[in-house]
């Protein structure tokens, strides 16, 4: 064996604190989720489409010199043209402007319902899950009862009381819609509250409110966001359906549902009038669902194969 003398070695030192340092840049859960979402092409295409939709809902009605309620009885049921990009309806109203006004209403209804469902559902489910036992039992039976009430009946009843309109639809759908969110949040909370970091917070003397807000809900946010994304297209479709059967918002305000409803009267002659709102309803729902799928994969990497 070759003799290696000691002076050939040099102590360069081992710093205890250096050995603990982390070189990789710090990345939070949300940055990581965004990175995963960006890799999902379908979800990103959906996101781009939805952003386009929102921008058009804001600016679209101002792109043509027509008012959404302005009737021009000399120019009814016009086909696509340079003046009326999507043509006109049976009262001569410009369909391009009306489609984007409808987008405003539909998106507003979708987002508002999803938001209100989330607020009520998260609070209710969080409390039921955290306190558990009898509290949970009673609260969830109430949810079961509400789950059994068809929202259509509620819409009709509320319409008698509140009159036909935007807020009647929103109220009725939130009253029955939040239970889904409550169930999801309760399940998450039941699972999370036995985790050691929650026990640690309890030992530190944290109040139930602090534990729910700082420990339980932030960890359940992934499923909450995903559920909200699926809630939006459901609400949009339900509104379209209600408007289509005549229980929706009132003319001259338009939603995609009322546009489709109006178009059925002239369906045989001018099918394009139904095709346009139908197209936007379908593509929007598809985009929200695809984005929801992508978000679920991005926010909960364990679910991915």
């Amino acid at each position: 064996m070759v003799d290696i003398s000691k002076d050939k070695f040099e102590i360069i030192g081992a710093n205890a604190s250096e050995s603990q340092s982390i070189v990789r840049p710090s990345i939070s859960y949300w940055q990581d989720a965004w990175r995963r979402l960006k890799m999902n092409k379908v979800a990103m295409a959906s996101l781009v489409f939805l952003i386009f939709l929102v921008l058009m809902a804001i600016f679209g009605p101002y792109m043509r010199p027509f008012d959404y309620a302005h009737q021009d009885l000399f120019n009814t049921n016009k086909p696509f043209s340079k003046v009326h990009w999507f043509g006109t309806d049976y009262l001569g109203r410009d369909l391009f402007v009306r489609v984007w006004m409808g987008a405003r209403v539909s998106l507003f209804i979708g987002v508002t319902i999803a938001f209100l469902d989330a607020v009520i559902g998260v609070t209710y489910g969080g409390i039921a899950g955290y306190f558990g036992g009898q509290v949970d039992n009673i609260m969830m039976r109430i949810v079961d009862i509400l789950y059994g009430i068809p929202y259509l009946i509620l819409v009709i009843l509320l319409m008698v009381v509140m009159g036909q309109g935007l807020w009647t639809i929103i109220t009725a759908m939130v009253m029955t819609g939040w239970v889904g969110m409550a169930r999801i949040v309760r399940g998450q909370v039941l699972q999370l509250k036995e985790q050691e970091f929650v026990l640690a917070a309890k030992t530190l003397g944290a109040s139930p409110g602090r534990i729910i807000l700082r420990h339980l809900i932030p960890n359940a946010l992934g499923p909450i966001i995903v559920s909200m994304t699926f809630d939006v297209p459901n609400a949009i479709f339900s509104e379209a359906f209600l408007s289509y059967i005549g229980l929706g918002i009132r003319a001259p305000l338009a939603s995609w549902g009322t546009l489709a409803n109006d178009a059925t009267q002239v369906l045989l002659m001018y099918p394009m009038q139904l095709f346009i709102p139908g197209f936007f309803i379908s593509v929007t729902m598809l985009a929200f669902n695809m984005l929801g799928d992508g978000l679920r994969d991005a926010l909960d990497p364990r679910l991915r194969r």
Partner: protein, 319 residues
């Protein structure tokens, strides 16, 4: 309190309602811990060690008995004494991967106790968190990172820093090393011992590694199926185990000497641990004990002092 006792556990019972009956996880357990002392609590999986720890710290409501910590009755607290108790008694958890909130930065995790009790704010709070990180051998740069960026040993250090943040007097260590690599276990145990020396802490150290418990504990309690079988000074327990269960447990500890190891005789216990839902009558160990007598099935042996500070619950030592 007499003899400087900081924690007094008397006839503690914790039962859980499960399908098929009542699970007696902790059944009539009594012990004291003196200020500055470490009491080791050993026993096999499912014998009620962790439940005892969690009940002592007030995470579980006790079914019966009492826990008195520094004149505070732990299970009869109002909000104010609960906060006072929380400042004095803390816990270190078993699983370093589950015990840190993945959505919070390390700085916020450590600072949570400071925030809850309103100890420091702003710059002082930040300084305090940096000091705590350095106290447990981490860097101050780690405050802005998230738990998933750390190794198991580092996470356990963060857990220790969180418990230390509010300067407690008493810490329940619930198997703090059993989820770590052996090389890291020594680091964590040494850290805990150094902290104890520096701050005069009192530990209830729950573990199933007998050699580790011997290293850190002043006294050791051996649990079997929800009750204490033997309780004595740690040196005494290892040289002079009296309870047949303790003898069997100790015979399973490998000795780092091949000569001795070859000749070592293991006491192999027969059968399995009986179900805690329907435990044997009398002495709970009698079904697996080679010395079992008639009286063992009839009378539950009480924990009795047989030598100076050496308690054992076994009819073999009835006089």
């Amino acid at each position: 309190m007499k003899d400087n006792v900081i924690l007094e556990v008397k006839n503690l019972k914790k039962y859980f309602h499960v399908n098929g009956g009542i699970l007696k996880a902790v059944d009539d357990v009594s012990f004291n811990i003196k200020r500055g002392e470490t009491l080791g609590l050993v026993g096999e999986s499912g014998c009620g060690k962790s439940t005892t720890g969690r009940t002592v710290i007030g995470l579980y409501e006790a079914t019966g008995g009492s826990v008195i910590f520094d004149d505070i009755p732990v299970h009869k607290m109002n909000d104010e004494t609960r906060r006072k108790f929380a400042r004095k008694a803390q816990m270190i958890f078993q699983d370093p991967y589950a015990s840190l909130n993945p959505r919070m930065t390390v700085g916020d995790i450590i600072g949570e106790g400071i925030d809850i009790h309103g100890l420091y704010t702003g710059k002082e709070r930040r300084e305090r968190i940096y000091n705590l990180l350095e106290l447990v051998g981490l860097n101050r740069e780690h405050a802005n990172r998230f738990p998933h960026e750390f190794s198991g040993g580092q996470r356990q250090r963060i857990g220790i820093a969180r418990a230390m943040a509010i300067e407690p007097e008493f810490i329940v260590c619930d198997e703090p090393i059993s989820a770590l690599d052996v090389s890291i276990q020594a680091q964590i145990v040494n850290l805990l011992m150094n902290l104890q020396e520096e701050k005069g802490l009192t530990y209830l150290f729950i573990a199933h590694d007998l050699s580790m418990v011997r290293h850190i504990s002043d006294r050791v309690a051996v649990m079997y199926l929800g009750s204490i079988a033997e309780l004595t000074q740690s040196g005494e327990l290892y040289t002079n185990p009296l309870h047949p269960y303790t003898q069997a447990l100790l015979s399973a500890v490998p000795i780092p000497d091949p000569e001795v190891e070859r000749k070592r005789e293991r006491i192999i216990l027969e059968g399995d641990v009986p179900s805690p839902i329907n435990p044997p009558s009398g002495c709970r160990f009698r079904t697996r004990c080679k010395y079992a007598m008639d009286i063992c099935s009839e009378v539950t042996p009480p924990l009795k002092e047989v030598g100076s500070g050496h308690f054992v619950a076994c009819h073999l030592f009835d006089k």
